[in-house]
C-alpha cells in the first residue's frame, strides 16, 4: 500500500457556500438569456420615457402650477372659505367611509377565509363588483333610491331627510367606490394563512374575539394597513360618483376634487392657482400613499398578498 504525499487544503472538509452559479446580473457580457445592449437601451428609454411623459410630468406640473404665483398666493388660495370647507368635507367623508369599509373588510375576510361554505366564489365576485362599475353609475344608483323621483324620495321628503345633494349621499357614494379595497387585500392573505393559528389559540382557551385580536390581526396588520391606504386615497379623491350626488354647492357640498373642477372652470390666474393648489394637496396625498406603499412592499413583501391587481 503506497502512501502518498499530497497537498491538503487546510479546510478541505468544508466547501464554501454555493457560488452564484446563475447570477442574475443583466449586463453580463454576451449572455445567452438576455438581449443585445442596444435593444436593452431602447426598451429602457421607451419605458422610462412612457412613465416620465404620462405619470411624472403631470405630477410635477401640478406642483409647478400650484406655486406659479408664489407661496403666498398658494396658501392664500388654500385658506379661502370654499377651499377650507371642501377640505373639511373631504376629511369628514373619508373619516366615515374608510372605517366603515375597514369593518366590512375584516368581517368579510374572516367569514370567507376561515370558513368553507357554498357560494364563496360568488361572494368574492360580488365584493369586487364596485371596481367594474363606473363611478357615475355608483352615484346614479343612489339618486334612483333617494332622489326626489327615486324609490324612497317621497318618504324622505315627508320626513325631511336630505340624502341626495347632501353629506349622506356623498358618504354613500364614497363607500360604494372604495368598497372592495380592504377586503381584497385581506382575503387572499388570510386564505393563504389558513386556520391553524386560530385553532391553536382556541385550543389554548382564548375566546373568539381574543383570538382575532392577538392571533389573526397581527398576522394581517400590514396588508390591512395597505388596504386602508389605498381605500383612503381613493376616498379622498373620488370624483365621478360624488359629482353626481353632491349638487356642487360651493362651501357646502363640494369635496376637494369637486372644488378643483369648480375652480378650473373660472378662467382667471388666481382661480387656476386655486385649482392647482387644491390639486397639489391631493397629489401630495398620492405621493405619501405611494411612498408608504413602496415601503410596505419592500419591508413586508412576504406578509402582503401578491395580488396587486384592480385597485
Amino acid at each position: 500500500m503506497p502512501a502518498e504525499k499530497v497537498f491538503v487544503p487546510p479546510d478541505y472538509q468544508r466547501p464554501t457556500e454555493s457560488p452564484p452559479e446563475v447570477a442574475a446580473i443583466p449586463f453580463r457580457q454576451r449572455s445567452a438569456v438576455t438581449e443585445p445592449v442596444w435593444v436593452r437601451t431602447i426598451l429602457i428609454v421607451v419605458a422610462v420615457g412612457f412613465v416620465g411623459l404620462f405619470l411624472l410630468l403631470p405630477l410635477v406640473f401640478v406642483f409647478v402650477q400650484a406655486f406659479s404665483m408664489g407661496f403666498g398666493e398658494y396658501f392664500e388660495q388654500l385658506s379661502e372659505p370654499y377651499a377650507q370647507s371642501a377640505i373639511r368635507l373631504t376629511l369628514l367623508v373619508t373619516a366615515i367611509a374608510v372605517p366603515a369599509n375597514l369593518v366590512f373588510g375584516i368581517a368579510a375576510s374572516w367569514a370567507i377565509a376561515k370558513f368553507e361554505f357554498k357560494g364563496k366564489a360568488f361572494l368574492i365576485t360580488l365584493i369586487d363588483l364596485p371596481f367594474s362599475v363606473s363611478p357615475v353609475i355608483a352615484g346614479l344608483v343612489y339618486v334612483l333610491l333617494f332622489g326626489a323621483q327615486g324609490y324612497f324620495g317621497p318618504w324622505l321628503e315627508a320626513n325631511d331627510i336630505q340624502i341626495i345633494f347632501a353629506v349622506p349621499g356623498i358618504v354613500l357614494a364614497t363607500i360604494f367606490v372604495t368598497f372592495p379595497f380592504v377586503a381584497r387585500e385581506l382575503i387572499p392573505l388570510m386564505q393563504e394563512q389558513g386556520t391553524g393559528d386560530e385553532e391553536a389559540a382556541l385550543s389554548l382557551g382564548a375566546s373568539g374575539f381574543k383570538t382575532f385580536l392577538f392571533v389573526t390581526l397581527p398576522n394581517v396588520k400590514w396588508a390591512l394597513l395597505y388596504g386602508v391606504l389605498l381605500c383612503n386615497a381613493r376616498a379622498m379623491g373620488e370624483f365621478g360618483a360624488v359629482s353626481v350626488l353632491s349638487g356642487r354647492i360651493q362651501g357646502f357640498t363640494n369635496t376637494m376634487p369637486l372644488q378643483i373642477e369648480a375652480a378650473s372652470k373660472e378662467f382667471s390666474r388666481t382661480a387656476e392657482v386655486a385649482a392647482f393648489s387644491m390639486a397639489s394637496l391631493l397629489a401630495l396625498l398620492a405621493l405619501v400613499t405611494l411612498i408608504l406603499k413602496t415601503f410596505l412592499e419592500w419591508r413586508y413583501a412576504d406578509r402582503l398578498s401578491s395580488s396587486a391587481q384592480a385597485h
Binding site: V22, L59, F61, I106, T125, S134, A283, T294, Q309, H311
Partner: protein, 282 residues
C-alpha cells in the same frame, strides 16, 4: 344562529367562532351598499318599458357615446398593453438607475385622484400647454385628449398583472431554448410570451374596464360634444340633469353595466383558461 348554521349543509363544520356574525354583517352591508342600489338601477331601467328601453339604448346619441367610450378605451387599453408589457419586462429583467422609482411610479394612477390627473393633463396638452404647444393640432377637447386620460388611468394594470408572472418565469426555459438553437427573438416569441398571454389579456381587460367607466379625468380634457367625443358616463350625467325622470340615465347605465359585466366575465374566463393551460395566471 351560529349553532344552527354549524349543523347545516351550507358550510363545513369548524371550531372557529364568529361565522354567523361576520357573514351576516358582510352580506347585509354588501346588500345595502351595493346590491340593492344596483337592483334599483335595473328595476328603474326596466320600468320604462321594453320599447322605451330600446329607443333610448339605440338612440343615435347613446350609440355614439357608447362607441366613443368603448372605442377610445380600446385604443387606450391597447396602448397600455403594449407599453405595459415593455414596462413589466424592463422592470423585471433589467437593472438601471431609477428602476425602483419607476416601479413605484407605476402605481400613481391608483393613488392620484382622477380630478388631479385630469386637470394636469388638460393643461399640459392644451394648445398653449407644455406638451400641447409642440403640436399644431388640438389635443384637449378632442378624442386624442380623452384617450390620453384613459391611458393614464389604465396604465398600471398590465404592468402589475404581468410583472409577477414574468418574475416567476424559470430562467432555465430560456436557456433550454437557447441550447436547442433558438435565437433570442424566437425564444421571446415562442417561449416567454405564450405563458405571459393570460396575464397580458387579464391586464388588458382590467385596463379596458377601468377606462370604460372613467369620468373624473375625462371631464377636464373634454367637454363632450354630442355625437363626436361625448363619453357614456358624461351622457348619463347629462340625462340625469336634463330629465325629471331618471329613466333615460338608468337605461344607459344598465347597458354600460351589462357590457362591463361581460368584460368581467371575460376576465374570469381568461384567468380560468390561463390556470388550466399554464398552471397560473396573472
Amino acid at each position: 344562529m351560529a349553532r344552527t348554521l354549524t349543523q347545516s349543509r351550507f358550510r363545513k363544520p369548524s371550531v372557529i367562532p364568529g361565522f354567523g356574525l361576520t357573514f351576516g354583517f358582510a352580506v347585509t352591508y354588501l346588500s345595502l351598499i351595493v346590491l340593492i342600489p344596483i337592483a334599483a338601477l335595473i328595476l328603474k331601467s326596466a320600468s320604462v318599458g321594453w320599447d322605451e328601453f330600446w329607443r333610448i339604448a339605440t338612440d343615435g346619441r347613446t350609440l355614439a357615446a357608447l362607441r366613443t367610450s368603448f372605442g377610445l378605451s380600446l385604443i387606450a387599453a391597447l396602448v397600455n398593453m403594449f407599453f405595459g408589457l415593455i414596462l413589466a419586462w424592463v422592470l423585471t429583467r433589467y437593472r438601471f438607475p431609477g428602476r425602483r422609482l419607476i416601479d413605484a411610479m407605476v402605481d400613481l394612477p391608483f393613488a392620484l385622484p382622477t380630478a388631479v390627473a385630469g386637470i394636469a393633463l388638460g393643461s399640459l396638452y392644451a394648445v398653449n400647454g407644455w406638451i400641447g404647444g409642440f403640436f399644431d393640432f388640438r389635443i384637449t377637447y378632442t378624442a386624442i385628449g380623452i384617450t390620453i386620460a384613459l391611458i393614464f388611468v389604465g396604465l398600471p394594470f398590465v404592468v402589475r398583472t404581468v410583472q409577477p408572472v414574468l418574475e416567476d418565469l424559470d430562467k432555465e426555459l430560456e436557456e433550454a431554448a437557447a441550447t436547442l438553437g433558438a435565437g433570442r427573438w424566437k425564444t421571446i416569441f415562442r417561449v416567454i410570451l405564450p405563458p405571459l398571454l393570460p396575464a397580458v389579456l387579464t391586464g388588458f381587460a382590467l385596463a379596458y374596464a377601468r377606462a370604460v367607466g372613467e369620468y373624473g379625468s375625462v371631464v377636464f380634457v373634454s367637454q363632450g360634444i354630442p355625437y363626436r367625443n361625448e363619453i357614456a358616463p358624461q351622457l348619463i350625467v347629462i340625462k340625469l340633469e336634463e330629465s325629471a325622470s331618471y329613466g333615460p340615465a338608468a337605461v344607459i347605465a344598465t347597458v354600460m353595466l351589462a357590457l362591463a359585466f361581460l368584460l368581467l366575465l371575460c376576465i374570469n374566463l381568461l384567468q380560468a383558461w390561463g390556470r388550466r393551460r399554464f398552471g397560473s395566471a396573472g
